[in-house]
Symmetry: C2
DNA sequence: GCAGCAGATAACCGATCACTTAGGTGTGCT
DNA sequence: AGCACACCTAAGTGATCGGTTATCTGCTGC
């Protein structure tokens, strides 16, 4: 399986014809035909078969197309990235759990990018707790914002606390729920699906079964639903302060809460750290960064906005 | 540049040593050394240089690492995907603009997945309007939910209206803003950064400059900020109905609003459509789907939850 | 039934890949 | 200085890649 074979396949799939692909690549038709044949043999799947009008993909071919298209594109990207590396701003990849990124990701990236004008290019990603350590130690991310990761066996990482808060359980002022907390309807954000998150820990401690949870794409949506009386929602106290102050939501008396929560920043040891990562570390201990972490939901300017990407481990 | 060369590079970068990588691959040390040499020559960058302790990456090497790691992983994934294609559920990729996915993505995927139990595997992605047509026509997505895409030159796509709403501008009941709308503080979601979106069209029409916009990661966060009096926010009327009913937000009198907005579903023509895509099309005209589109923010069950991914074109 | 077309197969060829063994070179340590 | 270690380079080898031309096969349309 080579990249040339894959790009031949992608082209045939898109154009629906071997001949057309051969013309596009300006090679002979058998060259393309053989590339496909090699893939077929290697993967043990016909991938494309002759149909009445053009080539038609098998189920396997369909799967391959999306992946192969990415590989081909990445190949080109790799070349471009390396060639333009000198003089370009240093990329800095910051990952965090869902909640952290939702509230602090954008503003942090915005502020840090502005401060180190043009020399670093910050991007923010959402990652699962269990993969954070690996992502940082394998240099696929420069810093992780989330729980303490220093204890990992054999991986030399440095975790430092940057922020403390308390997790409480909120509900609409009027609403009453029956039975013990484990029977209440729990409205949670995506963090709850990450077993290593603080929310998941709290829910496990209370014995809440999956059937009593509804997952919302982000914390703010869960608050909205809770304010409408649909259930209760676990939340960091400082993030919901506007809601609690206006009494749209009030803290409920739930065993185990308020729960102490600490956010750590995790990086490689100082001597293996990139310059950008080092100055991010410094930035995180400034009052400005503290304020951004504490104050929920400030928007960023359009030119700086970048959607967070879900990062998973590419082993 | 071959996949074997790239995986050798990734391994050396991770282990920090050519020898260690060679051992891990159980080949001789020069084999790895030469793979790196070939990459160096091809890309014209040292990538890794000898440093006091272990190999240290150049700027170019750093860029290459992230991309190469993905390529290697995708290679393995491609094999697995094709090999397990028979009998596995058909993957169905639905893309939409930011707002659509935020409110309707999860519930739609949840409901459609449940209805066609086990035979399709729905995943939802966010895409930019300008890339939607290409993504669908190149079969990198099966359906797009967003504006009408049928007019594109030469690309045979079918767009059908599935939903109508009106876009209004909302603000906190008490708040007063000075001057003309173009000088107000506008709190927008990520859709506003997509020039093809309805929000961007509205803002352009009003002549709002970038400097007067603050971008929030999602619409709900923008509402929150607007309810706090920080500015005004454009929004689809039906999505904000809870807020307007509770009078946390009220519609403002802005020229050009309310603006008619229609969501279309775009797919390949019927004869080129996959089975899953066809039944998704049918599902979208059921009352259940209509209800999901109309009613904002229902959560999904934890086992079904999947974070939306940002999809871009892989050329 | 047959021409015409598109794709597969065959036979062949030079270039490169991936790997080996052998020897050269740079760096850190005692 | 000299040793040890890790990396690089050289030379050689079989396998495969990527390409060609020529030929075969299967389908479509008339």
């Amino acid at each position: 399986m080579t990249l040339t074979q894959l790009s031949a396949f992608v082209l045939v799939a898109r154009l629906g014809s071997v001949k057309a692909a051969a013309d596009a690549l300006s090679v002979s038709e058998p060259a393309v035909s053989q590339a496909i044949a090699a893939l077929r043999k290697y993967l043990g799947d016909p991938l494309l078969t002759r149909g009445g009008t053009g080539m038609v993909m098998t189920a396997g071919g369909n799967r391959l197309l999306t992946i192969a298209a990415q590989m081909v594109a990445l190949g080109a990207e790799a070349e471009a990235a390396v060639r333009s590396a000198n003089g370009a701003p240093e990329p800095l990849r910051l990952i965090g759990s869902n909640t952290v990124v939702e509230f602090a990701g954008g503003p942090l990236a915005d502020a840090f990018g502005a401060r180190s004008s043009g020399t670093v290019d910050v991007s923010v990603g959402v990652a699962v707790t269990s993969e954070m350590a690996a992502l940082v130690s394998q240099r696929l991310a420069d810093a992780a914002l989330g729980p303490d990761l220093s204890g990992q066996r054999g991986i030399p990482l440095v975790s430092e606390p940057v922020f403390r808060s308390r997790m409480v359980v909120l509900g609409a002022p009027g609403a009453r729920f029956r039975g013990s907390p484990r029977q209440w309807p729990w409205l949670v954000d995506a963090d709850a699906t990450d077993p290593g998150s603080d929310v998941a820990r709290l829910l496990r401690g209370l014995g809440v079964p999956e059937s009593r949870m509804r997952v919302f794409p982000h914390q703010t949506a869960a608050w909205d639903a809770a304010a409408g009386g649909a259930g209760v929602t676990p939340s960091l106290a400082h993030l919901a302060v506007h809601r609690t102050r206006r009494r749209e939501l009030v803290p409920l008396d739930v065993p185990g809460t308020p729960m102490e929560v600490v956010w750590f920043v995790t990086m490689l040891p100082i001597d293996r750290r990139s310059a950008g990562a080092g100055s991010l570390r410094n930035f995180l201990s400034t009052p400005e960064a503290m304020r951004l972490l504490r104050e929920p939901g400030a928007g960023v300017s359009p030119s700086r906005f970048r959607p967070p990407v879900y990062v998973t481990i590419w082993n």
